[in-house]
Symmetry: C2
Subunit: 172 residues, 2 copies
């Protein structure tokens, strides 16, 4: 696949379309451009052009709670199956790990954190990723109770204060 | 494998030895019993009979820092390769996911947290697992900078306050 061979920056919609034998305009029409094609290839069921503004719409000190609620809503729908597949890909193929790095830094946490204007944005991005990847692992992949079937309010109450420190709190 | 078919509780050293065609006394001699055989089968390079007492030896309010330092020391040695293999197994086989659940609750976090005598031990165990599994994913599997190559002091300063809340702090 073009993304796994060249990474997000190296891949172009034109080459992806050529390799698939379709018109690049069709790729843009159906997938809405490279960002969304990239998410589709990772089977991540979100549209960042909707999710990012929605997450940023509200007090910055409650961003962690909104992020966790959105994460649970997105993945609970499918029972976490696509997230298990994503973790399997990321731990099986360096190309998928590289794509996931770019997803984290470019598509989701990087965009949220740069919008906050906080110090150490790269470290905060990586720290936020530890908490969210870990929540995904424990709830959907390892399915450890009580987190595997806890309701959203319980998960938010337990985890949002920690995630919020990574997003906007003092780091040391 | 006996563990993946029967889980930790159902597997016996006797049956494991029979299936391997060896004397059960040899399994106990070489692996030191079922706990250690289980860890060996998951390729987790720690001896809980040494690690747990060492982690508990010190102020409870610094347990998170000790736990993170131990985790980084154990996995940095191998560059994280066995941890990547573990994540791949856990996301590929339900049997491995079940074993990993038992590892978390029985061998590591469960033992640490029950020794602390805190409220909500099952929830704290699962929360601590989110942070440590997420750190493992980001540092060793996804290898996202700056966490992938940060020195231990930096990782501890950033993550220990969060993990400490899960272990001993107020949860809601």
């Amino acid at each position: 696949m073009e993304f796994t061979e060249r990474g997000f920056d190296g891949a172009t919609v034109r080459v992806i379309a050529e390799r698939a034998g379709v018109d690049p305009a069709m790729v843009n029409h159906w997938f809405g451009g490279k960002d969304k094609l990239f998410l589709a290839s990772l089977e991540i069921p979100i549209d960042p052009d909707q999710v990012i503004p929605a997450l940023l719409n509200g007090p910055a000190e409650e961003l962690a709670a909104r992020l966790i609620r959105t994460f649970l809503t997105v993945w609970d729908v499918s029972g976490g199956g696509p997230l298990v597949a994503l973790m399997r890909s990321v731990s099986s193929h360096e190309g998928a790990a590289a794509m996931f790095r770019e997803f984290i830094t470019r598509v989701i946490f990087g965009r949220l954190i740069s919008a906050l204007g906080v110090d150490q944005p790269e470290l905060r991005t990586a720290l936020a990723a530890t908490q969210m990847a870990g929540l995904g692992m424990v709830r959907y992949v390892v399915r450890l109770e009580p987190l595997a079937s806890a309701d959203h309010d319980t998960v938010v109450a337990a985890i949002a204060p920690n995630l919020q420190r990574y997003l906007t709190g003092p780091l040391s």
